[in-house]
Symmetry: C2
Subunit: 302 residues, 2 copies
């Protein structure tokens, strides 16, 4: 089945304690698409500038990602520069150049209107809604957001949430969005605004999902070499939504498997800079790591 994703395609410059990457392939739509491409057909709605390297487009095409909705316009590509400290938990943004992204008015190709699933990556909630309005009747809509929009455009975000089935968000953002320090009560409040499920990302602590009052806790894999956390959240989303698109089963048991698949894809992505680990990833490696997650979390009945 097909997934439409709208988000950023960027050139990232990143410094971590383990090295640096300069103007490497990045962006939420990129990480999402590549992770999801292991499971389903992906269609990208995004914008790049004249300077965007052809080799990156070739790589995305090699993953069978549909780029009809990726427009190239005059100007420079969106750039992000950031660094991570020793614990690799929080990115410090050093510079954001919106460039061609500043005037981005997403218009989706006709062929994209029948997409089965939609992933609204972390962009302006007004743009998220604009894209969503152009898709005929998606079977599942998932969205990401961040503190920038929670603070800056709370009404627009609440409006978008009315049409979202699954919201992906981190725990601090959940508390912030609901203005409630207790995570359980915060989640309940957000679920009252539209989404039927919340997938709460907690970085090295894993993920929580809540749905119909039932919680699921997925672990994160303890890794002895985390090189670059950039894109982990979008790879999580890619594995998660990709697996749902592959199976088209939205029952709780299958959503739980999808959450773990998201964690699997995120765990690979942080092992190298940019998308370098996903470039050489194989499906048997994905299946093997899913089993590692199963062993990691398993305990017996009393």
């Amino acid at each position: 089945m097909s997934i439409l994703v709208v988000g950023s395609v960027a050139l990232d410059s990143v410094r971590t304690p383990f090295g640096t990457a300069k103007e490497a392939l990045g962006g939420s739509a990129t990480y999402f698409s590549v992770a999801a491409s292991f499971f389903a057909d992906v269609r990208v709605v995004a914008v790049v500038g004249e300077d965007f390297p052809e080799e990156h487009l070739s790589f995305l095409k090699s993953r069978s990602i549909d780029l009809e909705g990726l427009v190239r316009v005059p100007g420079r590509t969106f750039r992000w520069t950031g660094e991570y400290g020793f614990d690799l938990n929080d990115a410090k943004t050093l510079e954001t150049q919106l460039n061609v992204f500043a005037a981005f008015q997403p218009e989706i190709p006709d062929a994209y209107r029948e997409s089965d699933l939609v992933f609204l990556a972390n962009i302006d909630p007004d743009l998220q809604r604009e894209v969503l309005g152009q898709v005929r009747s998606p079977k599942l809509v998932a969205a990401d957001t961040m503190n920038y929009w929670i603070n800056g455009k709370p009404e627009a975000l609440r409006e978008t949430l009315k049409s979202v089935d699954i919201l992906l968000i981190n725990d601090a953002e959940t508390r912030q969005l609901a203005d409630e320090p207790n995570l359980v009560r915060a989640a309940q409040k957000v679920l009252g605004w539209g989404p039927t499920s919340l997938a709460i990302k907690r970085g090295e602590y894993g993920a929580l999902m809540v749905r119909k009052g039932r919680w699921f806790a997925a672990p994160a894999l303890p890794l002895d070499s985390v090189f670059d956390p950039t894109g982990a959240g979008d790879c999580f989303a890619g594995g998660f939504i990709g697996y749902l698109a592959n199976t088209m089963n939205f029952e709780e048991a299958n959503i739980r498997k999808a959450i773990v698949m998201g964690s699997v894809m995120a765990s690979f992505n942080v092992e190298a800079f940019s998308l370098d680990r996903l470039r050489r990833l194989t499906y048997p490696e994905i299946e093997a790591r899913y089993k590692v997650f199963k062993r990691l979390a398993h305990f017996e009945d009393l």
Copy 2:
């Protein structure tokens, strides 16, 4: 089977966003003993002052906790005053009065020398070793520690670790003890110093265990009402070591169940101030919550 615990018995004054407790029953040995008493015989080595209320002793006795090693000496009982902010993650210590604890020289009663398991709660590592030397041949030794000893007495702590089977520690302390920011590498380093297992406490994010290169991730239960996190780590230890004493099976599968039992006991304890939730806790409630943890963490094979 029997567990000997050495640690503090204290009077705690605590403020959280949900209320205050003044000179309430507290201390590491207290929380540990009460949690463990649901599973095994517990013997306490600790000290209190003349002012320690008789009602607290009656409560501990009502849990069948052996108090022969709890000495009462002239002076005032150890007191701790602390408060928690809105996220309830970190305690801020406002005052610590060691009082009778300052000159504590633990001497264990003859009847305690044959204890099967020993839990060295978070006290001076020299005292931990002194107590351990008085137990004939325990089948399992577990210990807790904290940043105060990691900074202040690193050699003494390393010496104690040589005799410890299971070290309970939080993730920041693991990194600090090993002087290594990556948790996996930090854990491997600490395991080279004596313990065969590390139980890494992560508060609201659950616990990790590592043993023979294999990791286990136990979730924490998302709770909608956390009133007072004081003692959660010691209740975790009490459920964990108590369950091991009850089953006397130190295979990995059983240790995993014990870790979850620790998480179960911690999840109850934070629901009320001091030991108030454990006072009215029943074993059927414990079994039911274990099942809740099982559902919380469960996902199927691919």
